[in-house]
């Protein structure tokens, strides 16, 4: 039985059918977004607002003027980077739902380097970013080790470590490094560690380009290198990949570690580029948004940039929406959830081929 299904899976993987596949997934995504917006409209009516008014306010909040557009890009930056973190895991057939926690640890580590050392500018910034990357990787180290060595479910272990990360960084912020007179925030980082801003009128910074560069880099890695190929092979069919000589355990460990490192970077960019300090709850839900953006993009790094931009715009728009209408900004969370549900349902078109009970597998 299993042999049959595997040979069936092999045939489409061999044929280079890049373009139609890509178009298919784009059309499916657009369809899903329209279904989700319809769901959002229903909620808007329940709140007693005209869906059209809510929608226009959302649009105005996201794109009404250069500062608003910069605001949308600012919100998108951490989502792009955490989206790439999630992509790395997805493409290797793994789930890193702990991006949120890695983001918090990375953000805190970067801020710590920023306010405790006195160094010249380029070195200080580099060290801050390196600290963020290391903290993110460290935070997924134990779940990654146990997933690689003993097959411990990484979905649950990474989710649970989110809670620990958020509480732990709060503890350090409030009890150890609290700025005297401040409200649950650390001392500001020194200007030598700051990630330069792009414009005078916005806190938008170089982090956006880091995110885009990461996405392009990951795309090149996956499509142009042998290591990237073996990673994709692992993600789409681990048994076949192992048969073909891919060291599964070592790769699982490395993939999760890289994913965690990028998750940490997302937090570092946020503290060094935007807040210039660590604050309790400084990045609510960016990690989760990144995971959803990667899911919506079906694990494609370049598409993830666009889904993250979409979610960032939604976020920026929701801030104005909350001020001007009765709807709370969590309305967009509902829309996001509907989108993912609709996308997962449209996979009906391409049925999951593996046996239903046993293995869970990110389909490709």
């Amino acid at each position: 039985m299993s042999e049959q299904s595997e040979t069936r899976e092999l045939t489409p993987a061999k044929a280079p059918v890049a373009m139609p596949e890509w178009l298919h997934s784009l059309l499916g995504t657009l369809l899903a977004i329209s279904i989700a917006l319809l769901g959002g409209a229903v909620i808007a009516i329940m709140v007693g607002e005209s869906p059209f008014h809510v929608f226009m306010t959302l649009l105005r909040g996201a794109f009404g003027g250069p500062d608003r557009i910069a605001g949308s890009l600012l919100q998108s930056t951490p989502i792009i980077i955490s989206g790439i973190a999630a992509c790395i895991a997805f493409r290797g057939g793994l789930f890193n739902i702990g991006v949120e926690g890695q983001l918090y640890m990375g953000g805190f580590a970067a801020a710590w380097v920023g306010f405790s050392f006195v160094l010249p500018a380029p070195l200080h910034l580099t060290l801050g970013i390196a600290a963020a990357i290391a903290a993110g990787a460290l935070w997924i180290l134990i779940p990654a080790f146990f997933r690689a060595r003993y097959g411990t479910n990484e979905v649950v272990s990474t989710i649970l470590s989110n809670y620990v990360a958020i509480l732990l960084t709060s503890y350090f912020t409030i009890f150890v490094f609290k700025r005297p007179g401040g409200w649950s925030e650390t001392a500001p980082i020194s200007t030598t560690a700051e990630l330069p801003q792009l414009f005078e009128f916005s806190r938008l910074n170089w982090g956006l380009f880091i995110g885009v560069a990461l996405a392009v880099g990951l795309h090149m890695f996956l499509t142009r290198t042998t290591a990237g190929y073996s990673m994709c092979a692992m993600g789409s069919n681990p048994k076949f990949a192992e048969y073909g000589g891919v060291p599964i355990r070592r790769n699982v460990f490395l993939i999760l570690l890289c994913s965690g490192a990028v998750g940490g970077l997302a937090g570092g960019v946020e503290t060094l580029g935007v807040h210039h300090r660590f604050m309790e709850g400084f990045a609510p839900g960016f990690g989760f948004d990144g995971v959803i953006a990667a899911l919506l993009a079906n694990g494609h790094p370049i598409l993830t940039i666009f889904t993250a931009l979409f979610f960032g715009a939604l976020r920026a728009g929701s801030l104005l929406m909350e001020v001007e209408t009765n709807a709370s900004r969590e309305l967009i969370t509902v829309v996001q959830a509907f989108i993912i549900l609709a996308v997962s349902a449209q996979l009906l078109v391409r049925r999951r081929r593996d046996s239903q009970a046993g293995e869970r597998r990110w389909k490709y």
Binding site: M1, I43, M46, V47, G48, F95, I97, I142, F146, Y150, G151, T152, N153, V155, V156, S157, I159, L160, S161, Y163, V164, L167, L168, S170, Y171, I174, F175, F288, V291, I292, L295, N326, A327, S328, E330, L331, I332, T333, V334, Q336, A337, F338, I340, L341, S344, A345, L347, L348, R351, R352, S355, Q356, A357, G358, R360, R361, W362, K363
Partner: protein, 317 residues
Amino acid sequence: MEVLGDIFNLALIAATLRTTAPILLVALGGTFTTKAGIFNIGLEGQMLIAAFFAVLGSIWTSSAIGGVLIGMMAAMIFAGTFSLLVVTLRANEVVVGLALNILAGGLTISLTKAIFGTRGSIVNPDIVGFAPVNIPIIDDIPGLDRVLSGYTPLVYLAFILVFVVWIIFYRTRLGLHIRVTGEKPEAAEALGINPNTMQHIASLMCGALAGIAGAHLSLGYITMFAENMSAGRGFMAVAVLIFSNGDPVKVLLGCLLFGFSDAMALRLQTFGFPSYLVLTVPYIVTLAALFMLTYRQRPKIIRETLESMSLVRRQEP
């Protein structure tokens, strides 16, 4: 030493049983999906949406039972959506579960704002909660009265359900069919059981119990709803289900461990330990248990592989 005596006393046991109840209820719900072969990460969301609708139902019907029933219905709608997408439409169970969790979080906050006009929490004098129930005979025995009596009804229900669920799995046809579906779907089909139907039933039963768990959060000891009040208990339940493999007795043991660490954390807080550190304890205990127990299960797998290898070798000559 005196401090240790203050920490470890009968009140701690009582607190443990109390904090175990919600995790136990949701984990018992998860046994159905686990046994039916579905990895259900959506327990968290089902619990949260039920906690919200239990408060709403309690206000609408002016009764705690009404609240529980409406909370259960809400959770079952989520469970039904989950199984519709995962079983019928063959969507990825992790993706759907996560999306439903996110939906529950967003929906409860949006609806709180829509219905009550507040952000963050619902505190309302019209919410009818459960009153503690004292058991007459046990109340007369000193010592035992503090440990076994005076809980809200749902706590008793949680522990009774351990036996009920065990009986369902090992003494009824339905339980057998659910187990066969999870272990060998091909065998189930050969027996004339529709695995899809069984998985839908299991998911709905799971939703019902997760609904009771959610209702216990918002109508049990505190009668209010707060945003994200399930606080990862659904995920802890999933961890318990992974290393208990859905066996109700092992689920009970695992949940007692987490209930104990939860109660310990609350206790330590009153002794002046920083709340942020203390609150990490239940999560760290869960993670440690998850890692240790999967580590211990490993040798078994290696032995099986060795056995199958020696079988192969014997066939060679």
